[in-house]
């Protein structure tokens, strides 16, 4: 299927749950509500015509102080899907507010989401409901804050860790 056909199919099936769609150089994106995202991802993975069997990336964006998006939800969680069988791609986005930064986990769908979601938690502080082991991935447990948030001070010093330091 072409990207436009995939988006049309998803719009027909999920209707109001799809908030926005756009494409950039032929790469299609659907923005979906938080409640519907796992259902949509499951549909993308299990429908034979779509067969998105690979989650190539799961990351987030902090839109704090972003021109034109000052009032909207602060974070966007981004899923990059790829189908090995059909060689097509789709990007799925979910918008979440700062004071309620929680998204349902995608670990049951793609096991790789385990570490990717841990990284997003580590760097942005977005939590994933139902994740089996939501610990920091790259940083250490004593770290305070989430460094890829736009309001994390660039020169904040963390206390040194480890034996006898």
């Amino acid at each position: 299927m072409t990207g436009a056909a995939i988006v049309a199919d998803l719009q027909e099936r999920f209707g109001g749950a799809i908030v926005d769609t756009h494409d950039q150089h032929g790469d299609h994106t659907v923005v979906v509500t938080r409640e519907a995202v796992v259902e949509l991802l499951r549909h993308c993975r299990d429908t034979p015509a779509l067969a998105f069997d690979m989650l190539t990336d799961l990351t987030a964006v902090d839109y704090a102080k972003f021109p034109g998006r000052e009032d909207g939800p602060r974070f966007e969680v981004v899923y990059h899907l790829y189908s090995l069988r059909h060689n097509h791609r789709l990007r799925v986005k979910v918008r979440v507010e700062e004071d309620d930064a929680v998204v349902a986990t995608a670990v049951p769908l793609w096991p790789i989401a385990n570490w990717l979601e841990r990284e997003v938690w580590d760097m942005f502080g977005v939590r994933f409901e139902g994740h089996p082991d939501l610990r920091r991935l790259l940083l250490y447990e004593e770290f305070v804050g989430h460094p890829l948030r736009k309001d994390y001070p660039i020169n904040r010093r963390q206390p040194l860790i480890g034996p006898n330091i």
């Binding site: 040194l160 860790i161 480890g162 034996p163 006898n164």
Partner: protein, 152 residues
């Protein structure tokens, strides 16, 4: 000055001379400075001329800790442990600007100079330092080893 004092000072000098030409280094290589370290260590620049040709990859057999490359907060406890495992007498060389001050990595992940963790004897700045600078630093370290009070 008695004969005993004369003998001790000459023995100090002899031991200092021997130590400065038998440096067993421990290269703690974490980043791109390692390339310049290898260039220095290999035959073209050849630190074997200064008696530092044999890296020991066990801290227990090493005299000089070469900290080569950026040290992150997560790596800091490892560096500290390696330093603690080395036996006296021991010296530390901060190789490259990241180990000296953190360099341009003024961010959440990087230790702002390894002297916040362990004592440092010689700082070799540069990003990465030229082999000439490294050899200059090594010779300064040799002077320091020879001049320091010898314990034996």
């Amino acid at each position: 000055m008695g004969v005993g004092n004369f003998f001790t000072s000459k023995l100090d000098e002899a031991i200092g001379w021997a130590r400065k030409y038998s440096i067993f280094q421990y290269p703690f290589v974490t980043a791109c400075c390692g390339m310049e370290y290898m260039a220095t260590a290999c035959s073209h620049y050849d630190i074997d001329r200064f008696g530092a040709g044999l890296p020991r990859f066990s801290p227990r057999q090493a005299d000089v800790l070469f900290v080569v490359g950026t040290i992150s907060h997560k790596m800091a406890p490892v560096l500290k442990r390696v330093y603690d495992q080395m036996t006296e007498p021991k010296w530390v060389v901060a190789f490259g600007v990241c180990t000296c001050t953190g360099g341009f990595y003024d961010n959440y992940a990087t230790v702002q100079g390894i002297d916040t963790i362990i004592p440092v004897d010689v700082y070799i700045p540069g990003c990465p330092p030229r082999p000439e600078s490294v050899i200059d630093g090594l010779m300064k370290l040799q002077d320091k080893i020879a001049a320091g009070a010898q314990r034996y």
